[in-house]
């Protein structure tokens, strides 16, 4: 895990331009994201907020390259994600994006260590290097002593920490998180948020997080508020001021 030197201020990692995403249900065309443009700097911590159906998760999926836009471009680093082939996208994701899901989505038949090792199997690392890397990721999330435990033997918070270890195992620049505290109690949720802050501050991970929770969003440096697929507000905040800002954004979305 590289706690790499910070990127020059203002270096853009994600550039989204005129993004449109439509779904066709029967004969009806649903526009989920409508002509959205956005950029995210390297090292930023962005919270995507908005009511259900506003397009937050769709935007996250598009940024992470697991969905395709109807039109518009998405540039992550120097790669135009929206134009890459399926196979190239898979390869790109394995090296550049870490995923954190609301329901952790660990493989139940694998131990914590094996779950974290899973994305490393796609790399050219040998077994010893994979082991070292997975152990390091687990120690970052504070679960070095639970490596041999299966997901069913862990609490929800611990499962989510294993999922975070899996997300950072390949040392990607970008972490995308979809309601990472949505299934946790407040204490466990707090621990996860602290961990994410640390990953952002100490390990310079750029984080894009979808959340409904103003408290979770308050950890972000920037709040992007979507409504009906359109960017409503894009607020940059100094840390400490974010709580009130998030609450305000949340209130405005209800």
């Amino acid at each position: 895990m590289s706690s790499a030197s910070p990127a020059p201020p203002g270096t853009t990692l994600i550039r989204i331009d005129s993004l449109v995403k439509q779904y066709t249900r029967d004969t009806q065309v649903l526009t989920v994201l409508d002509n959205l443009s956005l950029s995210v700097d390297e090292g930023d911590f962005v919270a995507l907020m908005g009511p259900s159906g506003s397009g937050k998760t769709t935007l996250l999926n598009l940024i992470a390259g697991i969905d395709r836009p109807t039109s518009g471009t998405i540039l992550v680093g120097d790669k135009q994600v929206s134009a890459m082939s399926e196979a190239a996208l898979a390869k790109w994701r394995s090296a550049n994006v870490g995923f954190i899901f609301q329901l952790y989505n660990l493989v139940p038949v694998l131990t914590a260590f094996e779950n974290v090792e899973l994305p490393l199997l796609l790399t050219s690392l040998n077994r010893a290097r994979r082991r070292k890397q997975a152990e390091l990721a687990l120690s970052v999330v504070g679960l070095a002593d639970r490596m041999d435990h299966y997901p069913r033997q862990l609490s929800g918070g611990q499962e989510q920490r294993v999922a975070i270890a899996r997300a950072i195992a390949t040392d990607p620049k970008l972490l995308v998180a979809d309601e990472p505290t949505g299934d946790l109690d407040s204490k466990a949720g707090e621990e996860i948020l602290v961990l994410m802050e640390r990953l952002n501050a100490e390990f310079k991970k750029t984080i894009v997080m979808v959340t409904h929770d103003p408290k979770a969003a308050s950890r972000a440096h920037r709040l992007v508020h979507l409504d009906k697929g359109v960017l409503k507000e894009d607020v940059h905040a100094e840390r400490g001021k974010a709580v009130g800002m998030a609450a305000a954004v949340s209130a405005s979305s209800t």
Binding site: P108, V109, L121, L122
Partner: protein, 389 residues
């Protein structure tokens, strides 16, 4: 792909009961396939006598085995060039013991000396030929039959006749064994039957001839049948193996029947395995979507599911073949004491059959895994992730 093997193995045994039941559902039909294949191979085995330099021919009435031939035919056959020896074998029928299924075996009236000239590859395990030659009421018993009925030299065997309405009290004078191990018949002196039922004397059921060599055997088939073709009792002469096969043809096209059963069994295993794999893949829709999110390609997912399917099938295949290797001698021993003994003698662990059975399971694993593997790998990641919600 080797890196993913531990994951594939863990997935294969994720639901242990289901996997073991699937393996079991492969093992049992596979045993039947091995058995049917071995049976077919046994039917196809080379002429049992010819492989040991024994060129034996069987002559019977052209119409059917139930029709008798004049006894005078035997001497005429013996006079033909190329004939080393000839004996009659007359089906006695009758009942032994309570006449139940377990007491059914072949009983033939023969000329003792001529019998051993034709079947000179038979070995005496207990008693002696001369004791039999000397005792008109004597009989010899095949080793399998002796084991089945618990007979030993000196025992009495009482046969109650039906075709020939006489009761024969026979003394066991020898236990014999023939090289292919199919000794499950009883043979007694025809003169004893002739005395008890004089009508029998002028007829015979079959003539078994030992030819000098293969060439003589081939020409004798024509010569014998031509000799009697314009008589009131035309004959049909064939090799020992062809004669045995003609018994099987009485129940129709046995090979086709057996092959059809085998194909049906293969199809049934395929459906079971396909259903299991479909269920296994369906349960893991979200998990597969997560793996693809992590960067696993469609191809890698496809390969892993196929490998899992093949692994389960191969496990069933290996177990099935192993179990068959263990039980085959027992099955053979069991059949040897039945009227199917002649065919059971050809039973063996044929590597070709075992390999075929094993490859069938590998094929089943592949075919069963194709649809779930393709579906899982082609499903959109977003749809897969939504399944969780």
């Amino acid at each position: 792909m080797l890196k993913f093997l531990p994951l594939v193995l863990k997935n294969a045994f994720r639901k242990k009961t289901r996997t073991l039941l699937t393996v079991g559902s492969i093992v049992l039909p596979l045993l039947v396939i091995c058995l049917l294949g071995t049976f077919l191979r046994a039917l196809d085995r080379p002429d049992p006598g010819a492989t040991r330099g024994m060129f034996r021919l069987v002559t019977r009435h052209k119409v059917s085995l139930a029709n008798f031939l004049p006894h005078a035919y035997l001497d005429k056959v013996r006079q033909l060039p190329g004939v080393v020896a000839a004996t009659e074998l007359d089906w006695f029928g009758g009942k032994y013991g309570d006449g139940g299924v377990k007491t059914i075996f072949s009983r033939f009236a023969v000329e003792p000396e001529a019998f051993f000239q034709v079947f000179d590859d038979a070995a005496i395990l207990a008693g002696s030929k001369t004791d039999w030659y000397a005792d008109r009421a004597g009989c010899i018993v095949g080793d399998n039959l002796a084991a089945k009925l618990g007979l030993k030299v000196g025992d009495k065997v009482v046969l109650r006749g039906d075709i020939w309405p006489v009761t024969l009290e026979l003394n066991v004078r020898a236990i014999y064994q023939i090289p292919d191990g199919s000794g499950a018949s009883l043979h007694f002196n025809r003169k004893y039957l002739e005395e008890a039922s004089p009508r029998f004397g002028s007829t015979l059921g079959m003539i078994w001839t030992k030819a000098k060599d293969a060439r003589a055997a081939t020409s004798l088939i024509d010569t014998i049948d031509r000799m009697f073709e314009n008589s009131s009792y035309p004959t049909k002469t064939e090799t020992e193996k062809a004669f045995q096969m003609s018994f099987m043809s009485l129940v129709g096209n046995v090979k086709m029947l057996v092959t059809s059963i085998g194909i049906i069994i293969i199809f049934v295993i395929l459906l079971i395995a396909a259903n299991t794999m479909a269920m296994a893949a369906r349960e893991r829709v979200t998990e597969i979507a997560v793996m693809r999110t992590l960067g696993f390609s469609k191809g890698a997912i496809l390969e892993m599911i196929l490998l899992e399917s093949v692994l389960v099938a191969v496990l069933g295949g290996l177990l099935g073949v192993a179990v068959f290797m263990v039980i085959e001698p027992t099955i053979k021993r069991g059949l040897m004491t039945t009227p199917l003994g002649t065919f059971a003698a050809g039973f063996s662990l044929y590597p070709g059959i075992l390999l075929f059975a094993f490859l069938v399971t590998v094929g089943i694993g592949l075919v069963a895994g194709v649809v779930p593997a393709v579906r899982s790998s082609q499903r959109s990641i977003v749809d897969g992730l939504r399944e969780v919600a």
